[in-house]
């Protein structure tokens, strides 16, 4: 059971571990109102987070598993295609689409 009255040094250590382990949401959810206020008011905490990020980057940035970039490119392309489709749909003349819809459902 994590402590609910963590001092600023404990909060920083927990933030650092959460960032390193990829579990920031757990850290955010663990904060009590008092702890959130303590973080807000601590200049030291904010200054230290920058160093934590750099340590995280140096220690673990190179260990990132390089995924299949080709597969990632397909995902990006699918996202772009979807945006193009949406943009195309929103620029279509609404009155025309209404007419088409009406005709399509006209009784034979």
């Amino acid at each position: 059971m994590p402590s609910t009255h963590r001092e600023i040094q404990e909060l920083l250590a927990d933030y650092a571990s959460a960032l390193r382990d990829g579990s920031l949401p757990t850290f955010l959810k663990s904060l009590t109102r008092e702890e959130a206020l303590r973080i807000h008011e601590s200049q030291d905490f904010w200054e230290a987070t920058e160093v934590v990020r750099l340590m995280n980057s140096v220690g673990f940035g190179d260990k990132l598993v390089t995924p299949d970039v080709g597969l990632f490119i397909s995902r990006v392309d699918a996202g772009i295609a979807s945006r193009m489709k949406k943009a195309h749909a929103s620029t279509r003349d609404p009155s025309r689409s209404h007419v088409n819809l009406h005709r399509e459902f006209e009784p034979q």
Binding site: I8, Q9, E10, L12, A13, Y15, A16, S17, A18, L19, R20, D21, G22, S23, L24, P25, L28, K29, L31, T32, R33, E35, A36, L37, I39, H40, D44, W46, E47, A48, T49, E50, V51, V52, R53, L54, M55, N56, S57, V58, G59, F60, G61, D62, L64, V65, T66, P67, V69, F72, I73, R75, V76, D77, G79, I80, R83, M84
Partner: protein
């Protein structure tokens, strides 16, 4: 800047959407490693980094105007971070934080902060800098940071150093603040980052 990246950037800032779409593949290939490593600094989670980066690239495709006339990789990273990544980073935990106590402004400062002293320093330079800074610490402080960077939990570090978890957290906090002072000094000596 790498010739491949320069060509991709030129094509990417073309006017028609189809040309830009075709230019995305070489652009992604040339920048993926740099961008994902940068995002990892703020999120620490590969899956989230990839999701954010996917949106970042689509945003770049949609509006690449900020990337015109960029001549080096550092400027590219800065521009992409400020105009594309930050917006997406701010959205990552926004929904989750509705049930948490940290204010939205603080959450943004945590996950999408302003560029810091060394945020645009290359990975290699950063490694050398950190190595140099660690060398200036006391043995116990250096050991605690090195063990942390090896991925050890605070409890495991406490066992290694023969102390308590609370003492390790305090040691880490003080050491990190020391490192921060060294970073400031480095930044002053090198004339500041941008």
């Amino acid at each position: 800047m790498d010739k491949r990246l320069r060509n991709a950037l030129q094509q990417l800032t073309a006017s028609d959407t189809e040309s830009r779409r075709r230019a995305m593949e070489p652009f992604v290939r040339a920048t993926f490693a740099m961008f994902i490593r940068h995002l990892h600094r703020y999120l620490g989670n590969e899956v989230e980094c990839e999701d954010v980066l996917e949106d970042v690239y689509a945003d770049i495709w949609e509006n690449p105007s900020h990337l015109r006339d960029i001549e080096d990789e550092r400027r590219l990273l800065k521009t992409v971070y400020l105009y594309y990544m930050r917006k997406r980073l701010r959205e990552v935990y926004r929904r989750l934080n509705r049930r948490a106590y940290l204010s939205q402004a603080d959450l943004q400062s945590l996950t999408a902060p302003d560029l810091g002293l060394c945020d645009l320093v290359s990975q290699e330079e950063l490694k050398q800098l950190l190595h140099k800074m660690l060398g200036k610490l006391k043995a116990r402080e250096r050991r605690a940071i090195e063990l942390w960077m090896e991925g050890m939990s605070n409890r495991a570090i406490a066992n290694q150093l023969g102390t308590t978890v609370g003492a390790v957290k305090m040691l880490e906090f003080r050491t990190i603040l020391k490192l921060r002072e060294m970073l400031k000094e480095y930044s002053r000596e090198s004339g500041g980052e941008d």
